[in-house]
Symmetry: C2
DNA sequence: TTCTTGTCACCTAGGTGTTAATAT
DNA sequence: ATATTAACACCTAGGTGACAAGAA
């Protein structure tokens, strides 16, 4: 699903945040290699601000080249640019999302793709469902962490060497309470099965190729320790 | 939910088995007390034959007292008795269902009621979904086991003392591919939320009392170590 | 004006007993 | 005859963006 992340990223990925908590789409998922089969690991994610700015939806009525004709919708006027609205709001409570299967053996984690589809984003500063709290209209970079559960008694001493972090730049996004770029909306509708109700193309054409994905297999992912991971998040 | 199990048991509980696997209803669930908060435990269930017999649906056309008029359905003729049809079929592959949260700390298990709602029963001898395999038209007794995960290196030596088993006789049942006793069918429809589509009573009456449960709080559960458990399965 | 909230129709995903057809 | 199977309508449970109303 790396291609899908990059397709969103080229448009400027947006993720909805709600009071109750909203899943990410695409889902962040990884294929893991190189773990000690018999050792225990915890897998988790967190989110770091990409900058210290607050954004707002900008209007470029004249930019007809970027936003041509037909696919222009209600928010098309907003979709052409993000403008800096000022300094970032106060940082949200820093939370971490443990993959619910944590802890588990290396063999278990490597058996198949690990999916963080239970992770939810919220803009409620007082959330007590354990969801990730983000500021709307701010940009974030998801991070993935692997923590080795050290069996030694004085494991605290080795905390620094017992985890590795990974960043996939194509998964960065802007948190929003409503989509700003109409092209993002259309791509979500086209690719998220739960949004199928808003598709309006000829149903027959979906039968053969359910998703109009770009077929650009660009290899631009970044990782702090690429040797440990195979593939990339979905 | 102990009252519900007993209500079914008084009629002769039946559980559907299918090729794909079918949940049990009621769900087996327990409230646990007395664990070591910091120790690891695995929780699991298995099923033992209650006897070495095969049953068949018997008909007592004359028993009008038991099966009176209105609630008689298509299988009413069958519902009045179970007849012994002969010796038990060859034993099914003996399987065990680990609660999916296993292993976990005692504190985690005791935090709330533990529910075995992921457990599924099948009659497919070649099942490879890890479901519990049972012979249709045979009677079974569910068992619940608590296994202490011994941190000692030679933990195998203490295997015998590191687990305890519990039996609740009100959860015994006959495995079937289709319900035989029409009263069981009606009680399932009345009490299982997923069968709500088959309820046909006055919708208004459900508003106040969603389930016509018996209010007989008979205390007849058996347990090999009652002191460890509080309450009973649902 | 711009952003946020709550409700909604419309989906996915999967658990029910029913029913008709098939198997034993 | 009796038991099993597979397709089905009808539910629960919850994930979508649209939309109208509200807030800043």
């Amino acid at each position: 699903m790396k291609a899908l992340w990059e397709e969103f990223n080229q448009l400027g990925t947006e993720m909805i945040v709600t009071k109750a908590g909203r899943r990410m789409f695409p889902t962040f998922q990884v294929k893991i290699l190189g773990m000690d089969t018999l050792a225990d690991y915890a897998l988790l994610m967190d989110f770091v601000p990409l900058d210290d700015k607050r954004y707002r939806s900008g209007g470029w009525p004249g930019d007809a080249a970027q936003t041509s004709s037909a696919e222009m919708g209600r928010y098309a006027f907003h979709s052409s640019a993000w403008l800096v609205a000022g300094k970032a709001d106060p940082a949200t409570p820093g939370r971490v999302h443990f993959h619910p299967d944590s802890p588990a053996k290396g063999a278990q984690w490597m058996r198949q793709i690990v999916s963080f589809d239970k992770l939810k984003l919220t803009n409620n500063l007082l959330d007590d469902n354990g969801h990730i709290i983000l500021n709307s209209m701010h940009r974030y970079q998801p991070r993935f962490h692997v923590v080795f559960v050290d069996p030694r008694k004085d494991s605290e001493r080795y905390a620094q060497e017992n985890f590795k972090s990974f960043v996939f730049t194509e998964t960065q996004f802007t948190a929003v309470t409503a989509y700003q770029n109409h092209r993002i909306t259309q791509l979500k509708i086209a690719s998220n099965p739960f949004a199928k109700g808003f598709r309006e193309s000829d149903p027959d054409s979906w039968t053969v190729s359910p998703r109009p994905l770009l077929s650009v297999p660009t290899q631009s992912r970044s990782s702090l320790s690429p040797c440990l991971l195979k593939g990339s998040p979905e």
